[in-house]
């Protein structure tokens, strides 16, 4: 196994261990996401057209808000006692360090989705259809996009005293295309009948993920420096 891959796996394992050891972080994010879902459920008349058309958006608002709280902690552990210095001085390409952190965030955001989605189905009276594969693909590609942009911007924001605010300000505008695509495709996936339209949103998700992952791997070296 290459030393870079070994380092990425070690960082991933360490991040997951610390996340689940300090359960309060993940659980509070999850409950925040569920609360957003619950409030929107009661905010609309169950029979209204607005709710029928906006279901998917409500799910993704809950996921986006809960995710940014998770992403905020990405480099906090590293900077608490400057462990980031030890990572920055490793004799491996910094892209491996990014990969370790990114995969940790991807796992956590995917888990958030997996836990929020069943309640979303219950609150909005949805059933599992043959389009479940589309929903799974959309969730995975959106989690990839959010984790990739979020990990990169969390590293950039870490040196700021207002890192929580800075991350949100930087991340939401950039991830708007991902969230719009996710809403459009989820709306299609939870429909019981009719043709699936707007496949270009899936292409957009794929292109967004590919571009940002490649860019993050290249520029992380500069982000990790001063």
């Amino acid at each position: 196994m290459s030393s870079g891959l070994q380092a990425a796996i070690a960082i991933l394992k360490k991040d997951l261990l610390l996340e689940f050891r300090g359960k309060e972080g993940f659980l509070s994010n999850l409950f925040f996401g569920l609360m957003v879902l619950l409030l929107f459920t009661f905010a609309f008349d169950p029979s209204s057209e607005a709710l029928r058309q906006g279901k998917a958006a409500i799910f993704w608002i809950a996921v986006a808000f809960a995710s940014v709280l998770t992403l905020n902690r990405t480099f906090q552990r590293e900077s608490a006692d400057r462990a980031i210095d030890a990572l920055a001085l490793l004799p491996v390409d910094p892209a491996w360090i990014f990969l370790g952190k990114f995969l940790g965030n991807l796992a956590l955001i995917t888990l958030l989705m997996l836990l929020i989605f069943p309640l979303f189905m219950v609150f909005f009276n949805l059933t599992v259809t043959s389009r479940f594969w589309l929903l799974s693909a959309v969730c995975l590609l959106t989690a990839l996009g959010l984790s990739c942009v979020g990990t990169l911007f969390a590293a950039m924001a870490e040196s700021s005293r207002l890192r929580e605010v800075v991350l949100s300000i930087m991340m939401y505008p950039i991830t708007i295309p991902v969230l719009i695509a996710a809403v459009q495709l989820t709306q299609q996936a939870i429909k019981l009948t009719g043709e699936i339209e707007n496949w270009h949103w899936l292409t957009l998700l794929l292109i967004f993920d590919a571009i940002f992952l490649a860019a993050a791997l290249v520029i992380f070296d500069y982000v990790l420096g001063e």
């Binding site: 030393s3 006692d81 400057r82 490793l90």
Partner: protein, 221 residues
């Protein structure tokens, strides 16, 4: 003659509008042990960070083994202990060392050996670092730095919070290494050094090693 391990050529460092280092020229060979001393805010730690490749100079250049391409080799042979311990407070002592070992391909057995050497084996190794005393954290940080058996050690106030017995032990471990040491404790640092530099107002000046340390001359110890 081999190229120097690190060579700083006309290095300046400016934070905002504040110059911290000015026109620094410094190089050292393998097995040399450099001592950097001087008043607070003189730029010692900033200089050490530039030597460690953690910080880039505003102008001037830093060469590793005679070129800019020697950085990966340099980093694989270097251990850096800064002001902070670079440990994870919510991992145990053992988990910290095993993690940092894995990052550099060091087997878990060697991590446990180092825990024993720094006197943190047994129940101490299973406690979270958050609950360690300052001295225990510093010992673990020393173990973290020594774990991959680095040839070059860059140490910023490494004796802080360490007891006399451990300082003696640590001083023995670094005798055969290439060392750049920043310390105010000249009584500990001076006997270890082969060259000494005073850092003052962002500039460095080599101090002759013959005789006693400047602290002795000033009657401070």
């Amino acid at each position: 003659m081999q190229p120097p391990v690190v060579e700083l050529v006309q290095v300046d460092k400016i934070f905002g509008t504040q110059p911290v280092l000015r026109n620094i020229a410094l190089s050292f060979q393998q097995k040399e042990r450099l001592l950097l001393y001087g008043p607070n805010g003189a730029g010692k730690s900033t200089l050490l960070k530039i030597i460690a490749s953690l910080s880039s100079p505003t102008s001037g250049s830093v060469l590793f083994y005679g070129s800019r391409d020697g950085l990966a080799r340099y980093r694989s042979q270097m251990g850096y202990l800064g002001h902070s311990t670079s440990l994870y407070p919510d991992l145990t002592g053992e988990e910290n060392l095993i993690f940092f070992g894995r990052l550099r391909g060091v087997p878990g057995d060697r991590s446990r050996q180092w825990l024993e050497r720094v006197g943190l084996s047994g129940s101490a190794s299973q406690r979270r670092v958050r609950f360690y005393s300052a001295g225990m954290k510093q010992r673990l940080a020393v173990a973290r730095v020594m774990l991959h058996d680095p040839e070059i050690l860059l140490l910023d106030e490494p004796f802080n919070a360490l007891d006399a017995r451990f300082v003696k032990l640590f001083s023995q471990w670094i005798q055969e290494k290439t060392v750049v040491l920043v310390t105010h404790q000249l009584d500990l640092g001076w006997p270890l050094a082969s060259r000494a530099f005073e850092v003052r107002d962002g500039q460095i000046r080599e101090t002759p090693m013959a005789g006693s340390s400047p602290q002795h001359e000033l009657g401070l110890i």
